[in-house]
Structures are given as structure tokens and as C-alpha cells.
């Protein structure tokens, strides 16, 4: 039996190696997507079976006899003992947002190889380890948050830095996901109608759940999903009617303003009316669409059309500027390593876990699942013709705003594209144009629509599948927008409470309105500047988001390393120290380049200086003077935000290093802030 197990794992490892070899060493010949699935699935299985087991047994020494907070503090509300498979589902639904779909799609501009390898290696050695170790640390501390653990274990400054970093990430995240929605829905009456109708549908569900059948989530969601399906179909009739189509065709700035107003309403309205039902709806559709995509890829087995390495590894890419190092690692955060996950791992999950040993499945396993979603997004994006991919994701400042100019420019890069291809494709998916839709969502939607239509319906249903995919992405981006704005509002109220006590009261309506306006104003500002950015906004905002997210991951891994050192796990320190060092290197390099690079497409200050020089030389016409001055201010603001985040994290790293050296040398007695050991009262297997 043992021999059989060894042979089985050897076969899985060999299959994984063959898959990785096939995608890494293939040059020129079309490669099938099956290799991506085999490479990712087998690597993840081996990593889970051996690496996570090593961390669980040798580094963390998970103790099945130790009672978890869910057992000791069970109150049926926050602390709820939950079956490990159910909690895996909860945790996965909480960590998997739009990031693992959008990031890999954007990183496809380097070719399929760098992003795929980073997704697989980054998740196994970095992201999963971070989620797992932080979950373990939080379980041992009664479910304390990352900020609280940083304050107690590293120092007071650590806690403050974590809190500010979270708020900053929240603002940039909400702006950038808002921008993805704007770029997906601008001048798209079908998509706009479909998404707009989700608001009354969610409200109807909200009333159902609040007054008619309190808490009957499945019933309400089933009604919501049926109405959404009707909604997607009805969108085509709206697009076909000139007057309705006109009413639902919004320009990018109008759409951005609509989102800002919506964000404010979602934050200030009662949570049961809009936010919660939309979240249920989004969770249902998210799980369904991800499974459908996995099944579709396995069924269709699409051929990857993107080369392994594109010509844009040198940093001249049209989607965003910057070389493969460090920007591939910044662009794909969620799916490989995402600092935001550490907030969920130190949030609700540690309060619901039944046994310490379940942390391996839930912390490490859920992140592997998310990374797998990222690999599927990469497959969907890379199954498009490279020319189509670049036409959809490049800003008009680079490829022009007509199909002719785009086809000419992109063909000159070596990626053949005819104007007719873009016109036909837009027609097939029921859109006027697919040009200049930077943000990843539309190109992913076309990729998904191609896979789905090969499975069910053929080309006739391509438009329906495209708008279903757009609705699915936009729906759960809006869920992030709603929930993020609301949490951001609470954070702002918490900070305002230090200045004025009434403003700190979460239920006081003037405070709700004021703090909602502040948080919406903050992300709304970045969103609007992204919409007006001639380079498409994604070029500046997505790297900023990636840097902020990875910096938070570095904070989490530094906190984890400090705790491991205090636990006396000197031989196992590398488990968190290596990814922490890697992330600090990557994020500091990216921050430095984004601020100081002499290339105006890459460096914020260089772009500001270039525009200033243009004004001084008189190259900017008088009507465009105000707009250019605003762009200069925005570039400098982005530089200041990047610098502030990088400096805060450097301060935390310096503080932690000082602490580590003192503990290592024995100059300071390590003090752990764990909850005392209590033996579990539950029998084995209960």
C-alpha cells in the first residue's frame, strides 16, 4: 500500500513536471491549455501534500488537542464552530475577488509564461504560506486581526502602519476595480442595462430576506439568479432599440460619476437593502461561473495563441509600462500573493475553525484554489489572438481610436491584426467596438465567451455569453466596491473618533454621511483621474494597487516571521522569511521605478516633469492647460502615495529587524501573546 502511494505521488509529480516543461520550453508551436491545467493541478497537489504538511508539522506544530477560539468562545455569532469543508467554502468565497481574474489577464502582455509561473510558484511558496501562517497565528490569539498582532508582537508602530496600509489599499483597490467596470461598460448599452438592473433585483431580494423570509438566503438567491438570467437576455433588446440604447450608453466620465454616487448610496443605505443581497447574488454567480469556466476549459481544451514571451518583456508594453521584473510580480497579486488575504485569515475564519489542524486545508488549500482560478483566467486571456488582446487592452494614446489605426500599430509590433477582425468580433459579442477597453475584464469576457460558446450554443450565443461574463465580473466587482466602501467608512469613523467623539459613533447618521463622503471622495478621486488619464488609467492605478497589496503581504510575512522567531522556530524561519524578503525586494524596486524612472510612461515624476516642460514650451494649447495641470498634480500625488507606503513598510521592517536581532542574540526575552492552552473537549473526529 505504501509503495502504491509512493508510485502515485511520483506519477503526480512527474505529470506536473511534464506540464511545467511543456509550457516553459515550448517555442513557437501552438500549445494546448490542458498543459496549464495539468501543470498547475499537479504542482498544487504535491505542494499541498508535502510542503504544507511540512509547515504544519515541523514549523507550526499544529496541535489537534488544543481548543480553538470557536470551541472556547462559542457564541453562535462571531465564534461559531464550523465544519472544515464548509469553512473552506466560506474562506474561498471571501478571498476570491476580481483580482485573480484581472491581474493575470493584464500580465498576459508579457506572454503566457511569466504570469503562469509566478501564479504557480508565488502561490505555493508565498501566498499560501502567508494565509496559512497568519490564520494559525490568529487562531492562537483568539482571532485577533493582523493590526492587533502587529502591535502586540512587533511594536506599536507596526499596528499603526498596518492600519494605514489597509486604508490606503482599500482606497486604491476601490478606485482600480471601479476603473475596470468603467472600461468594461462605457458605451455598452447591453452591459450597462444588465448591471443597472442588478440594483432593483438586489433590493427586491433585500426586502424578501428582511421582511418576508428572514435569512432564507437560498430561496432569495434562486429568485435573484433567475431574474439576472432574464436580465442578461433582456439586455440585447435594450441594445437593439435606438432610444433605450441611447439612454444606457454612458461615456467613461459619466459612468465614473454614476459609480461614485452608487458607492455613496451603498455605504449609507441599510446593509440589508442592497449590500447583503448583492453579496449573496455575487457569491452564487461567482462560484457557478468559476466552475463553468473550469469545465469549459477542460471540455474545449483551447489552443493558447499568445507567445510564451512577448516583445513587451522589455518594459515597453501598451497595457502598462515596466519590465517583467518587478512588474509581472506586482501586476499579479491576488492569485499569487495577496496581502489582503491576511485580513480575512485574521478576521472571521480563525473564529470559526474547529481544530488547529484544519488551518492547513483552509489557509493553504483555499489559496491554492484561488491561484487555480488565476491560471484559468490566464488561459482564457491567452486563448485570444494576441492582436485582439492588445487592441482591447491598449489605450487610444498608443494605438489610436479607430480599428484601422489600431490594426496598423499592432501589426507593426508583429501581432497580425486586420481591422475587419475587430469589427467582426465586436459585432459577434453585440458591441459597437471592443477597442481601448483596458482593465482586463472585457478581454477575459471575450475569452470566456469563446470557451462557453464552443461548449454550448456555438457562435450564435457568443454575445449572450460575453454579456453574461461581463455581468459576472462587474457584479462581483461592485460587491467589492460596496463592501469595501462600507468597511472603509468604519475605518474613517474609527480614525475620526480620535478627533471628535460623535464622529466616531458608527450609528450616528451625520457621521455616517460625512465618513461615507470622505471614503467615496478618496477612491472617487483616484477613479476619476484614471478615467481622464490619456494612458488609460490602468497604467498608473493597477501597479499602485499591486504595490500596496504586496506591501501589506510583506507586513503580514514580517509579523509571521517575528512570531515564529518568538516561538523558537529558528530552523523554520525561512518559510516566511524568504517570501518576505522577495516581496520587500520586488515592491521596493517597483516603488522606486514608479517614482523615479526617467521614462514618462513609467515614472510618475518623469511624466509630471514632461508635462510641465510641455506647458513651459507652449506645446499645450490654452483650452488643455487646466487639464494638463490636473494631470501633473495627479502624477505627483501618485508618487507621494507610493513613497509614503514604501517608507511606512521600510519603517516596520527596520523595527522588526531590530527586534529579531535582539531576540536572536538573547538580548531580549521573547514574549508571545498567545491565549493560554486549553485542552479540547471534543473527541477525535467530532
Amino acid at each position: 500500500m505504501k509503495l502504491l502511494r509512493i508510485l502515485l505521488w511520483a506519477a503526480i509529480a512527474l505529470a506536473g513536471a511534464a506540464g511545467l516543461g511543456a509550457i516553459a520550453f515550448d517555442r513557437g508551436e501552438p500549445i494546448n491549455a490542458t498543459w496549464f491545467i495539468v501543470a498547475a493541478a499537479c504542482t498544487f497537489l504535491v505542494a499541498y501534500r508535502f510542503y504544507s504538511a511540512f509547515i504544519a508539522a515541523k514549523v507550526l506544530a499544529l496541535d489537534p488537542k488544543r481548543a480553538t477560539p470557536a470551541e472556547r468562545l462559542d457564541d453562535g455569532r462571531d465564534f461559531v464552530p464550523t465544519n472544515k469543508w464548509v469553512l473552506l467554502g466560506h474562506h474561498f468565497a471571501a478571498i476570491a475577488g476580481p483580482g485573480p481574474l484581472v491581474g493575470p489577464t493584464l500580465a498576459a502582455q508579457f506572454g503566457y509564461l511569466p504570469g503562469t509561473l509566478w501564479l504557480i510558484v508565488g502561490a505555493v511558496l508565498g501566498g499560501c504560506v502567508q494565509d496559512f501562517v497568519i490564520l494559525f497565528c490568529s487562531i492562537r490569539r483568539n482571532g485577533k486581526s493582523l493590526g492587533q498582532m502587529a502591535r502586540e508582537e512587533v511594536g506599536r508602530r507596526g499596528g499603526f502602519i498596518a492600519q494605514i496600509a489597509v486604508l490606503a489599499i482599500m482606497v486604491i483597490l476601490l478606485a482600480v476595480v471601479g476603473l475596470v467596470v468603467v472600461n468594461a461598460l462605457k458605451a455598452s448599452p447591453w452591459g450597462m442595462f444588465t448591471l443597472a438592473m442588478t440594483v432593483p433585483i438586489a433590493m427586491l431580494m433585500g426586502v424578501y430576506l428582511r421582511y418576508w423570509r428572514p435569512g432564507r438566503v437560498l430561496e432569495a438567491s434562486a429568485i435573484g439568479v433567475a431574474l439576472i438570467a432574464l436580465d442578461v437576455v433582456a439586455g440585447q433588446w435594450v441594445a437593439a432599440s435606438p432610444s433605450w440604447a441611447h439612454a444606457f450608453s454612458l461615456t467613461a466620465p459619466s459612468l465614473a460619476l454614476a459609480l461614485i454616487v452608487y458607492g455613496f448610496a451603498a455605504s449609507a443605505l441599510p446593509v440589508w437593502l442592497l449590500l447583503a443581497p448583492r453579496d449573496y447574488l455575487s457569491a452564487f454567480i461567482k462560484v457557478g461561473a468559476v466552475w463553468a469556466l473550469a469545465a469549459g476549459i477542460l471540455f474545449v481544451r483551447p489552443v493558447i495563441q499568445m507567445p510564451a514571451l512577448s516583445r513587451f518583456t522589455d518594459g515597453t508594453g501598451p497595457v502598462f509600462a515596466g519590465k517583467i521584473f518587478p512588474f509581472c510580480f506586482i501586476t499579479i497579486a491576488c492569485g499569487a500573493v495577496s496581502g489582503f488575504h491576511s485580513l480575512v485569515s485574521s478576521g472571521t475564519t480563525p473564529k470559526m475553525i474547529m481544530r488547529e489542524t484544519h488551518a492547513r486545508l483552509i489557509g493553504y488549500g483555499a489559496m491554492l484554489m484561488e491561484s487555480f482560478v488565476g491560471v484559468m483566467a490566464m488561459v482564457a486571456a491567452c486563448s485570444l489572438q494576441p492582436g485582439v488582446y492588445f487592441a482591447m487592452n491598449s489605450p487610444p494614446a498608443i494605438v489610436g481610436s479607430t480599428v484601422q489605426s489600431a490594426a496598423q500599430t499592432i501589426s507593426s509590433w508583429g501581432y497580425a491584426l486586420s481591422p475587419q477582425t475587430m469589427t467582426d468580433l465586436a459585432h459577434m459579442v453585440g458591441e459597437q467596438t471592443l477597442l481601448n477597453r483596458a482593465g482586463g475584464a472585457p478581454s477575459l469576457a471575450v475569452g470566456m465567451a469563446q470557451i462557453f460558446s464552443h461548449t454550448i450554443g456555438g457562435p450564435r450565443l457568443m454575445a449572450l455569453w460575453y454579456h453574461f461574463a461581463i455581468m459576472f465580473e462587474a457584479l462581483f466587482i461592485l460587491t467589492v466596491l460596496d463592501a469595501g466602501t462600507r468597511v472603509g467608512r468604519f475605518m474613517v469613523q474609527d480614525l475620526l473618533g480620535h478627533v471628535s467623539k460623535p464622529l466616531g459613533r458608527a450609528g450616528w447618521y451625520p457621521s455616517i454621511l460625512f465618513s461615507s463622503a470622505l471614503i467615496v471622495g478618496a477612491w472617487g478621486y483616484f477613479l476619476y483621474q484614471g478615467v481622464l488619464d490619456p494612458l488609460g488609467g490602468i497604467n498608473s492605478l493597477w501597479p499602485l494597487f499591486g504595490i500596496a497589496n504586496q506591501l501589506l503581504a510583506a507586513v503580514a510575512l514580517v509579523v509571521a516571521t517575528t512570531i515564529l522567531l518568538k516561538m523558537g522556530k529558528r530552523k523554520g524561519l525561512w518559510v516566511t522569511l524568504v517570501p518576505a524578503a522577495g516581496l520587500v525586494t520586488v515592491t521596493m524596486t517597483a516603488s522606486f521605478e514608479k517614482i523615479f524612472s526617467a521614462d514618462p510612461r513609467l515614472g510618475f515624476l518623469a511624466a509630471a516633469n514632461q508635462m510641465t516642460a510641455q506647458i513651459r514650451s507652449g506645446a499645450v494649447s490654452l483650452p488643455r492647460l487646466a487639464e494638463t495641470s490636473r494631470l501633473i498634480f495627479n502624477q505627483r500625488l501618485d508618487a507621494a502615495v507610493t513613497a509614503a507606503l514604501a517608507l511606512m513598510v521600510l519603517a516596520l521592517v527596520a523595527e522588526a529587524l531590530y527586534e529579531w536581532i535582539r531576540i536572536w542574540r538573547g538580548a531580549k526575552k521573547p514574549v508571545l501573546h498567545e491565549a493560554p492552552f486549553v485542552e479540547t473537549q471534543w473527541a477525535e473526529g467530532e
Binding site: 457564541d75 461559531v80 465544519n83 471571501a94 447583503a276 467589492v480 468597511v487
Partner: protein, 76 residues
């Protein structure tokens, strides 16, 4: 043969009820039942009961939403 079919039938029903149970748990449909069970096990001294009667389904639903959406519960 009849016994085999009967056993298959029982297994199918058991699997179906397990899946339904998992779906209800994952999507939060069974949250109120879990809460009642937790309060009943500990009686009025349970940490969640605060010595008072259990919340009604509507109050529990609102309370759980307030808790969930006042902290980070969704990632990017």
C-alpha cells in the same frame, strides 16, 4: 437485487442530503439554526445568549449582517 437497489437508493438520498446540508451551511441559509443550537446547548448562560431569550430570525439576520459588513469580509 432488491436489497442492492434499496442500498443504492439510501446512499443517493444520504449523499443528496449531505450536499444540501453543505450548500445551506456555505451560503449561510442555516445560520439561524446554528445560532439556536449554540444558545440551546449553553442555555441562558451561553456566551451568545447574554442571559436573555434568543433573538428572533429577523433580528438575528440583521445582527449577523451588521457584524459581517462592519469588518473586512471580502477580498480583492
Amino acid at each position: 437485487m432488491r436489497r442492492l437497489i434499496g442500498r443504492v437508493f439510501i446512499n443517493v438520498r444520504r449523499t443528496r442530503s449531505r450536499i444540501w446540508w453543505a450548500v445551506r451551511q456555505i451560503f449561510g441559509d442555516a445560520a439561524y439554526e446554528n445560532y439556536l443550537r449554540s444558545v440551546c446547548v449553553g442555555g441562558e448562560t451561553a456566551p451568545g445568549s447574554n442571559g436573555s431569550a434568543p433573538l428572533s430570525p429577523a433580528d438575528f439576520y440583521l445582527d449577523s449582517l451588521r457584524r459581517r459588513y462592519s469588518r473586512i469580509s471580502r477580498c480583492c
